[in-house]
């Protein structure tokens, strides 16, 4: 028997690490990888809470199923967007893709 708190503590640390990765990394693929870490943290807490409420409850499990499907969608769309961005700009550093940003030397009217 594993107490609920172990799962939740691990999940909290994983979530915070994923958020740290999203905040610090500059490569878009690395940001996507950190988001996957955060999604897995959510999955762990879901399955822990589902285990607490007994063997005949399946809400947590079905949420995990939906999260996995959404993660697959996210990875597919992310791959396509990164490929087209890389084709147009030659890099996928999110700090340097600034063609929609307002240039500094143009004054506002």
């Amino acid at each position: 028997m594993i107490p609920l708190e172990y799962y939740l503590g691990l999940s909290a640390i994983m979530f915070a690490s994923g958020l740290y990765g999203v905040l610090t990394q500059r490569n878009a693929v690395r940001i996507l990888i950190s988001v996957e870490v955060m999604l897995n943290a959510a999955n762990l807490s879901m399955i822990a809470f589902n285990g607490v409420f007994g063997l005949t409850e399946y809400e947590g499990w079905s949420f995990i199923l939906i999260i996995i499907a959404v993660a697959a969608v996210e990875a597919a769309v992310g791959l396509a967007i990164f490929l087209s961005v890389f084709r147009n700009y030659g890099e996928i550093d999110v700090g340097n893709i600034i063609s929609l940003k307002e240039p500094k030397d143009v004054e506002l009217i």
Binding site: I2, A16, L23, I33, L44, A69, L79, F82
Partner: protein, 201 residues
Amino acid sequence: MAFDFTQFIFFFIAVYILLCIVMVLRSEKVMQSAYWLILMLIGVSILFLLANSEILFVFQLSIYSGGIAVLLLFAAVLTEHDELGFDNSLLGFVRATFSQFIIYVIFAANMVFLILNSVLDSAYPQISELADVGRTYAEAWSQITGFATYIWDDMAMVIIVMGLLVLTAILGSVKLAIREEEIEDLSEEVLLRLKGEEVLT
């Protein structure tokens, strides 16, 4: 609660997962962080198995670390192989991301205390069914069939909407990722192949 071998396994896997996350965050190449992520996903699937869910173990292993991971690896290989912008030592890592690291520590500690306090103080029933090793075959199978019944009874519309979402995303990403060639730039052999004719060379 007595300390048993399932808790030992849990701590082992937890340390492994945290090690993998550290390597994901501070490895040199994007490809390396991608394969450390796959190793982390395998660890998470073993934690699902410890929480008495064989079917989610299968989903995690085959969809997450078999399907999604390949997409991430493709994304890492097909784009630029960048290097980290700072030293590959732990000291350099901490120095370069000092302010974010402070935020991370405060946030992680806050979250852990928040969750643990709320769970320990609340009226949640403390009957944890996680890692019940004495479960029989019949109980495990009835759990899987119960999950299937739950999905196709209560969640049926959700599954259908989810399928439409996945289909839309796949079609959209194929349209986005496919490279449209200029017809004039292609050689005659490729043109014939595009029309489906056999090319004799």
